[in-house]
């Protein structure tokens, strides 16, 4: 997709991730490059959360695959993977990682807001703080529904409405005050220069249902007591033991 076809946020985030990719992989690559699939900020094993289940023989699409840490592990478990990312620099990190792991699957350079893949071609579409966070849900949820086969499901971990309302713009961290309104939450131009998205709980529910997706689960992740992460400070982990900073939606195509 040429960059002139992108929405404003897709262009901004493509540039952001092209700038950030090397540093991101240097900072977090080891944390998220574990031998088994793990979710989110605190890298909680899929074997514990059991969101995706058995992927062997399934057609699986990862939205915002970055250096393809997740996709590589799922391919090794027998999934027919496709990895999508909006940043070509992130995908340049994915290719040598795939070669090193000895797996081969298509990588698609695209925004999740308009995906150049056919309708009803996946059993599972998922993201782990991926495109779901950096693309507009009003656009990508529609795409996910289109890409899923009937009976297939989508699962994605990301931020939460509490993360949105509890973030203090003056200190650039979270505390126990209500800083930002709940109503109207949607698009956030972060101090780092990216554009991120979050919706009220009810808006997510309506958006899924409008797109023919039945709500199976909202798994709110409490930071583990012994949380280890390269993404958050100790104080932020303590906040996330009290209020949700990460959640995983799971929805199924009717």
């Amino acid at each position: 997709m040429s960059s002139s076809d992108l929405t404003g946020q897709a262009r901004t985030n493509r540039e952001f991730w092209n700038r950030q990719a090397d540093e991101y992989q240097a900072t977090h690559g080891e944390h998220i490059g574990r031998p088994e699939p793990q979710w989110g900020l605190w890298q909680i094993p899929e074997s514990e959360l059991r969101i995706l289940g058995d992927v062997a023989g399934k057609d699986v699409l990862e939205l915002g695959c970055g250096a393809a840490q997740w996709s590589i592990l799922l391919a090794q478990q027998g999934a027919r993977m496709v990895g999508l990312d909006n940043s070509e620099r992130q995908l340049e990190h994915a290719r040598p990682a795939m070669a090193a792991a000895g797996v081969e699957f298509p990588l698609v350079h695209s925004s999740a807001e308009s995906v150049p893949l056919p309708d009803a071609s996946f059993d599972i579409v998922f993201a782990d703080h991926g495109a779901n966070r950096f693309a507009d849900p009003l656009l990508w949820v529609c795409e996910v529904s289109r890409l899923l086969r009937a009976g297939g499901f989508a699962a994605f971990s990301g931020g939460t409405p509490f993360e949105w309302i509890g973030w203090n713009p003056e200190t650039d961290t979270w505390d126990d005050r209500l800083h930002r309104p709940y109503f109207g939450m949607h698009r956030w131009e972060t101090p780092e220069g990216s554009v991120e998205f979050e919706l009220p709980y009810g808006a997510w529910i309506r958006l899924f249902r409008r797109n023919g997706l039945e709500i199976e689960e909202l798994r709110e992740i409490q930071a583990p007591e012994d949380a280890v992460t390269t993404y958050r400070t100790e104080e932020e982990n303590a906040w996330a033991q009290r209020w949700p900073m990460e959640q995983i939606w799971k929805v199924r195509k009717l």
Binding site: D176, R177, L178, P181, Y182, E217, L218, E220, Q241, P244
Partner: protein, 253 residues
């Protein structure tokens, strides 16, 4: 009727509170329009309810039964259930005054003496939806519904509860309570107990009871709207964060 500990406590509290709810009950019965919550937001704008004519409806925690009266006037076959005989006495008075009759049953929503699969709609507004334990009343609501029937209830906004000050009896802008594990809040003054759950927990509870999630409508009052006698929240707060939210779920066919 065997009552849970909190149901007994809440029943005693409502015995004292009922007199205070007589006048608002009277006003609500006289109101032609169906509205939601403390700002009386019109159902014609919210759209939370299905077509009512000919439907079998049970209201859990009906209090003075004004909601039931609105639904009865639109052709629904309504049954009101409430734990408080004092509240039901007001409801009976208002039934007589308005010439609208429907059955009123004294019972907790946690254990309803009505047959399974006998209703198309289970509704609650500031009723069982806040005063009964969801782990007990949601299974009862699911049991009462016919396949395809709907559960619609209004409850306190979760953010409101987490930012609630029991001392000032007002909502603040500080999160006082933890989200994880949130379940009940006891009023230290009168000992009454209200319930609320994390969003994900509601969804798990619905699905475990054969209910599909249909909607969650967070209510936002218009600018300058007057909450009347309710002074626990400012319009400014309520414009930013939800004071009330309506869940909708449907029993699997």
């Amino acid at each position: 009727m065997t009552l849970s500990q909190h149901a007994q406590t809440n029943r005693e509290v409502w015995a004292k509170n009922a007199a205070e709810f007589r006048e608002p009950g009277k006003r609500n019965w006289a109101q032609p329009e169906i509205t939601w919550g403390i700002w009386h937001l019109p159902e014609s704008e919210i759209g939370a309810l299905p077509v009512l004519a000919g439907k079998d409806v049970v209201e859990l925690g009906c209090g003075t039964a004004y909601i039931s009266s609105w639904l009865a006037r639109r052709g629904a076959n309504v049954v009101g259930v409430d734990l408080s005989p004092e509240q039901l006495a007001t409801a009976r008075e208002l039934q007589a005054e308005h010439g609208i009759e429907f059955p009123l049953i004294e019972a907790s929503a946690e254990d309803v003496p009505l047959p399974a699969a006998s209703f198309d709609l289970v509704i609650s507004e500031y009723g069982a939806s806040i005063w009964a334990d969801p782990y007990l009343w949601i299974p009862e609501a699911a049991r009462l519904l016919r396949p395809g029937g709907e559960l619609v209830f209004l409850t306190n906004g979760l953010i409101l509860e987490l930012a609630w000050s029991v001392e000032s009896e007002r909502v603040g802008e500080t999160l006082v309570y933890d989200y994880f594990g949130y379940h009940r809040l006891e009023d230290p003054k009168d000992g009454s107990i209200v319930f609320q759950l994390p969003y994900g927990e509601w969804i798990r509870l619905f699905r475990a009871n054969g209910l599909e999630v249909e909607d969650l409508i967070e209510l936002q009052p218009p600018e300058g709207a007057d909450p009347g006698r309710w002074d626990f929240v400012s319009n400014e707060w309520a414009r930013k964060w939800p004071v009330e939210e309506i869940w909708k779920a449907r029993k699997r066919a």
